[in-house]
Amino acid sequence: MHDSSTAVQGEAHGAAHNPALLHHFATEEQQRDSANLGMWIFLATEVMFFGGLFCAYLIYRGWYFGDFAAASKSIDAALGGANTAVLICSSLTVVLAIWAAQTSRRALLIGMLILTMLFGLTFLGIKGKEYKDKFDEHHVPGASFSFDHEPIPGHPDQYANPKHAQIFFALYFIMTGLHALHMIVGLGLFAWLLWMAWKGRFTPEYHTPLEIGGLYWHFVDIVWIYLFPLLYLIDRHP
């Protein structure tokens, strides 16, 4: 129920309402709260979407811990860590962008949006390098996959089972690939937000698209926060 305690006329077209107010909403607050709730619910669906992959990962990690550890060791934890830092910084620039909109700092807003996108592109670049490395090492699942004679961490006399390692890499590529896809969508979203900011569409009273775009971006960050230790750091002790 929206907040007015008095009956609101069916037509909410007061003297000077924000042109962004859609007319099936009674107030701007109702519209903003709806958009916010809508994005949070969408993020809930995304959690469950990735959740299925985490479930598969959890089960196979339990079954094939040694093989997974060997496979995990072969991906670059420093790059993964760097990417984590990149995304964390991008989340900061997002909240700073919103603060800039709230305080009418147009230049800062645009700067932070651009910076966010640069961080996103950096993330994708590092990811691309990682993928290329895996391709070169024949760790991409499929016909040319090979993972022979890789010792299991902590058990130097045992070799990892390539079939089980392939499952790790399948999950690695699907999970990080899906994440990267979401990142690309996020970049597209922020390009649009940047265009709107450039056009001066955001004010301290109205910057809802920034807020909900920010929510999406932070979610993509949170997924990576979990992917990093689970994929890269299974068994890193020497």
């Binding site: 985490f54 900061l92 909240v95 603060w99 949170i222 990093f228 230790p229 002790h237 020497p238």
Partner: protein, 97 residues
């Protein structure tokens, strides 16, 4: 969303940012120490702390005027937990008899 707090949120944002980076570094370094089965637990605890920081402060869950958004988050996490836990009820007990 209601008005943000009157005082500047910037110190909070930067503190959270530093905490997140520190958490990442700690995760990376602790992974090199052999804690046996606790390696995974520590990594996930740190990850969850980071996720909570992002959700509460960057996504403004902490200042949300109504409990609904927190309910959405808690419900979602609960059902994800159900998926993982009840699946493990099968996988974890298959070898029991």
């Amino acid at each position: 969303m209601s008005d943000h707090s009157k005082s500047s949120p910037l110190p909070t944002y930067f503190s959270v940012w530093i905490a997140l980076l520190a958490g990442t570094l700690i995760t990376y370094e602790v992974a090199k120490i052999d804690l046996g089965v606790f390696n995974a637990a520590v990594a996930l605890i740190i990850a969850t702390t980071k996720a909570l920081l992002v959700a509460l402060f960057f996504m403004h869950l902490k200042g949300a005027s109504e409990k609904l958004l927190k309910l959405v988050v808690i419900s979602t996490v609960f059902f994800l937990f159900i998926l993982l836990a009840l699946s493990m009820a099968d996988y974890g007990t298959r070898l029991w008899s």
